[in-house]
């Protein structure tokens, strides 16, 4: 065992175990995406692949600030938040590969899936839509006087939608227990944040809604945790909505097919030096919060878990076509088979 040189007291009320845990979730997110990249290249991923490289810190840190019973809704780059809330790599792999055993039985893609018991509500593609929906979940918490909190993610792009505005405004007026996390990663597809808003900072919108606003370094997982934790506390105690702006950067394209031609030269490279995992690891080491064997143990665990998940699902079948028609309504239980299929026999 290597014993640390010195140990600084852990920040933000976190224990050493939790600090290592944050590393685990970030590493799991990144490694899972790396596995997905190679599956995508092999043609095993049916649709597009979306990366959160360099943004794992803001997803993990913010979701880690929630308690069991709280519910979050992710956007496309919040794989890490989903994992923290209990979604498994096996489920995610199956979703991307449209397996019959996936949580949506092959109907929906990537991280569009839910489990309200575990505390995550998958998004739909139309951006901003989950803000009013999560306001409704927070409304339920308020109406039933449960000390639970909702958290919804938006990007710098999604904040431009009408649905975002209506949802956050409604939540603000109702003083709902909702945290709205804006992941400001600089771009919405090719559009830089300065073409989304004339506000200097996205968090400057908070006073306009009459809610609290706070901004933090999204590539600092501990700082992210800390500001979100405070927003969650405020929401839980009846203090209403907080807009949390987390500053980060999307190092990969919008999706795997995007060549990022619109990014100025040098920008991506500059952000490589501000990697949330590297930064957290460096602190774990220099502050003496984790030992080398601790870190190696996490890495090995992540590898083991991903190997097992992949081995389990790689060769699983697509859903059977006969399942396509069920479940549009509670009643009737299935849509009819069209006459031309019956005519074909």
């Amino acid at each position: 065992m290597t014993s640390p040189q010195r140990v600084t007291p852990p920040p933000a009320g976190l224990t050493g175990v939790q600090l290592l845990d944050l590393y685990y979730w970030m590493r799991l997110t990144r490694s899972l995406e790396e596995r997905l990249v190679s599956l995508h290249r092999q043609g095993k991923v049916v649709g597009g692949l979306f990366r959160s490289l360099g943004q794992e810190g803001d997803s993990v840190g913010s979701a880690y600030a929630l308690d069991p019973g709280d519910i979050l809704s992710p956007l496309i780059r919040n794989l890490g938040s989903m994992l923290v809330k209990g979604a498994t790599p096996l489920e995610v792999l199956r979703q991307y590969m449209a397996k019959a055993a996936s949580p949506t039985a092959g109907r929906e893609l990537n991280i569009h899936f839910n489990d309200l018991e575990r505390g995550f509500l998958g998004q739909v593609s139309p951006l901003g839509a989950m803000v009013p929906v999560m306001a409704g979940i927070a409304l339920y918490f308020k109406m039933t006087r449960q000390p639970r909190v909702g958290l919804v993610y938006v990007g710098d792009g999604a904040m431009s939608t009408g649905a975002f505005h209506e949802g956050i405004n409604f939540a603000a007026v109702q003083r709902l227990p909702l945290v709205v996390v804006c992941e400001n990663n600089g771009y919405a597809y090719s559009t830089p944040a300065r073409l989304q808003t004339a506000a200097e900072r996205l968090v400057d919108k908070a006073p306009g809604y009459g809610i609290a606003g706070v901004r933090a370094d999204g590539n600092d997982v501990v700082a992210t945790y800390e500001v979100t934790r405070e927003a969650v506390r405020r929401a839980r105690e009846g203090g209403g909505v907080t807009l949390v702006e987390l500053m980060t950067y999307r190092r990969k394209g919008h999706a795997e097919h995007d060549d990022q031609r619109y990014v100025p030269p040098g920008e991506i490279e500059a952000w490589e030096g501000n990697d949330p995992i590297d930064r957290h690891l460096a602190r774990l080491r220099t502050e003496g919060w984790a030992t080398e064997p601790d870190i190696a143990g996490v890495d090995a665990r992540v590898r083991r878990e991903l190997d097992a998940a992949l081995a389990q699902c790689l060769d699983e079948p697509f859903p059977d076509a006969s399942t396509a028609l069920a479940g549009v309504y509670a009643d009737p239980p299935a849509a009819p088979v069209e006459w031309y299929r019956r005519a074909a026999g």
């Binding site: 049916v46 649709g47 449209a98 397996k99 019959a100 949506t104 092959g106 109907r107 929906e108 893609l109 569009h112 739909v124 593609s125 139309p126 951006l127 901003g128 792009g157 999604a158 431009s160 939608t161 009408g162 649905a163 919405a188 597809y189 090719s190 559009t191 073409l195 989304q196 808003t197 031609r261 619109y262 697509f318 859903p319 059977d320 076509a321 006969s322 399942t323 396509a324 028609l325 549009v328 849509a335 009819p336 088979v337 069209e338 006459w339 031309y340 299929r341 005519a343 074909a344």
Partner: protein, 326 residues
């Protein structure tokens, strides 16, 4: 001469109209430096400048609403929906504001809303939709759905020149799969509201549009070879206004008609077309007019499910055989 893809044809059509008329401008998400996710507007910002190729925030209502205002003042906006599924976010603007403007307020609103529609691409429920039925029920809008590269070009140009708002639903499955030679220097304009006989025939008519035209042509070929049937394929090209005369003429000729579309059945456009056939050509029918459409479910992601839900060439063949032997 080189062949032009369906995608390139749309791009050329927009480009030519931008060159021809400086009132034409483009507005949408990621259409500038990126050229849109499919590159339909590639190179346009470099050529025409950021004032005429405007990258917007993610705000479909603002895109369509601002286009309407600019159109009232005499400009000719062409709006891009990044995927046509998100036209739903501008539904209020299009149906309550844009579509009613001329009738209720005497306002001219010549604008185009275009974007990639359609399935067969494993896009899942939100990147595969065909929203024509949602807008067919709205007097004041026009709807066009090209199937060929020639019509993609001819209809986008006609749409831009039209005095009224036009929804231009381009099919992403066709973008790079369909190509043809388009005469150099030839001005291609496809009149809105006119159907096209994609294949002549005497025994049976398939009325369809967009990507389904190609499946209908495949089916017609198979039925000719395997069954000796002469199947006419009528490519509507425009859904609003609908070319009733062309539909009726074909039905009078063949007396058996199948209406096929990719969108779901209930409330789909086929219902309207069959009602018109019933009203205008009932005496000529030797069999009930029938429709082939997608099953009534949201479009699923997995290949096995998507292939089951959407109509395939085999389905058109089976339906035609049923009609032919009725």
């Amino acid at each position: 001469m080189t062949e032009t893809t369906y995608l390139e044809a749309i791009r050329q059509g927009i480009w030519e109209e931008m060159e021809r008329d400086d009132r034409v401008f483009l507005i949408g998400e990621d259409i500038g430096a990126l050229g849109g996710p499919f590159r339909v507007t590639e190179g346009m910002q470099a050529r025409f400048g950021a004032e005429r190729v405007i990258d917007t925030p993610i705000s479909e209502q603002a895109i369509v609403g601002a286009a309407a205002g600019a159109a009232h003042m005499g400009l000719r906006p062409v709006c891009e929906m990044q995927f046509i599924d998100f036209i739903a976010c501008a539904y209020d603007m299009l149906t309550n504001y844009v579509a009613t403007a001329r009738y209720r307020a005497g306002l001219r609103t010549p604008l185009v809303v275009r974007g990639p529609s359609g399935g067969y691409v494993r896009g899942g429920p939100f990147h595969s939709q065909n929203p024509e039925a949602a807008f067919l029920h709205t007097p004041g809008l026009k709807i066009v759905c090209p199937a060929t590269a020639r019509d993609a070009k001819g209809l986008i140009k006609a749409a831009i020149r039209d005095e009224d708002p036009v929804l231009f639903f381009e099919h992403k499955y066709l973008y790079r799969r369909v190509k043809e030679e388009l005469g150099d220097g030839e001005e291609i304009l496809t009149p809105i509201g006119q159907a096209r006989i994609a294949r002549g025939g005497t025994d049976l008519t398939i009325v369809t549009w967009s990507a389904m035209v190609w499946k209908a042509l495949e089916a017609a070929e198979r039925l000719a070879v395997e069954d000796g049937l002469s199947v006419e394929v009528l490519d509507l090209r425009s859904l609003l206004p609908l070319d009733e005369a062309a539909i009726v003429a074909s039905v009078r000729k063949t007396s058996r008609v199948l209406v096929a579309h990719e969108d779901t059945r209930t409330g789909g456009v086929a219902g309207e077309i069959i009602a018109r056939i019933n009203e205008l050509a009932f005496e000529w029918l030797d069999a009930p007019a029938r429709r082939v459409a997608a099953h009534d479910v949201p479009l699923p992601y997995a290949p096995t499910l998507e292939d089951f839900v959407l109509p395939q060439t085999d389905d058109l063949v089976a339906a035609c055989r049923w009609l032919a032997t009725y």
